[in-house]
Symmetry: C2
Subunit: 187 residues, 2 copies
């Protein structure tokens, strides 16, 4: 190695393939239309199990390597059995994991080697909303904070810029911060 | 049993305890302030693991009966290893499980015996957003549909009303359909 070699960065992100995919979808935008899917089956009480197996995109159906399941329930303080995380906690996990994958991808794109990344996410909620006690209180979070602890070969300013870019390109950050139309119906 | 007996409904939801909690929080609204939390640790590439253990509410800290984890990753078609569901799929699971718990709770409150409940949720996404190909395309879902299959002792109109009430009181439905402030920072 000489001083002019590019430092070797290995965060486990295949950035060349991502750049290729970006170019391919620029040339064929109809392939960029994806459909994500989950199937949630009621178990008992407030306990349910969601299964994630298939999605479509690039003009075809795809199966995950394995089916993934997420159990959800309410805690014992709500007179439930606590057989899983609550749905709001699962939403926070979705947000944190989306931003964390973004940090790994952007860091790799910028040649930054990561050693550890941890995102701690908190969401406040006034239960007077979902319990219907006060109609002026919303059902969801009043606000969310995400705090990153990152150990990496980069300055604080560079890490802050990586986090900002991750937010800018995060699907779930957009879902949480902006409204999405949801149509709910009986089959 | 005589014909004047109230039908026995057992969906596994302790509706008396919930009514009690609602009254207790009406009398002491400060106890209704909850904080939900998740901690997401980067594993490698786009793979992360979120852990959900603690939350606060009713004026104190609580631990779940068990720690719950959610692995997230990107699929092989994005040159990732597919070690978990994608963050958008996890967000869909959070939405479906919240509405499903609501259906069980509202049905019990209305004396409706459920036999099975299944929610299938789809979210469309144009990847030109998160890939930064087209700045006019949003990163998140273009729209979401949730379709319930319910087997229960109730008319179609009653089931539709139960689903509507579940939406009205769902935390995650509110999170998805309305904007929430998210503050992201480096520790």
């Amino acid at each position: 190695m000489t001083s002019t070699d590019t430092p070797t960065v290995d965060n486990g992100v295949n950035i060349e393939a991502l750049r290729g995919a970006r170019q391919a979808l620029t040339d064929a935008p109809e392939a960029a239309q994806f459909q994500w899917q989950a199937t949630c089956e009621w178990v008992r009480g407030t306990h349910s199990r969601s299964t994630i197996t298939e999605f479509s995109g690039l003009g075809q159906q795809h199966s995950h390597r394995l089916p993934y399941t997420v159990d959800a329930d309410h805690p014992e303080v709500f007179a439930s059995e606590d057989n899983g995380a609550t749905p709001p906690e699962i939403a926070l996990a979705a947000l944190a994991s989306c931003l964390t994958a973004g940090v790994a991808t952007v860091a790799t794109n910028r040649g930054v080697q990561l050693r550890s990344v941890k995102a701690t996410v908190h969401g406040g909620m006034d239960l007077q909303g979902i319990l219907g006690i006060d109609g002026d209180v919303r059902n969801g979070f009043d606000s969310i904070t995400v705090t990153f602890d990152i150990d990496a070969d980069a300055s604080r300013a560079d890490l802050e810029a990586i986090i900002a870019q991750s937010q800018k390109r995060s699907a779930v950050y957009d879902v949480v911060t902006n409204p999405t139309t949801v149509n709910v119906s009986l089959a």
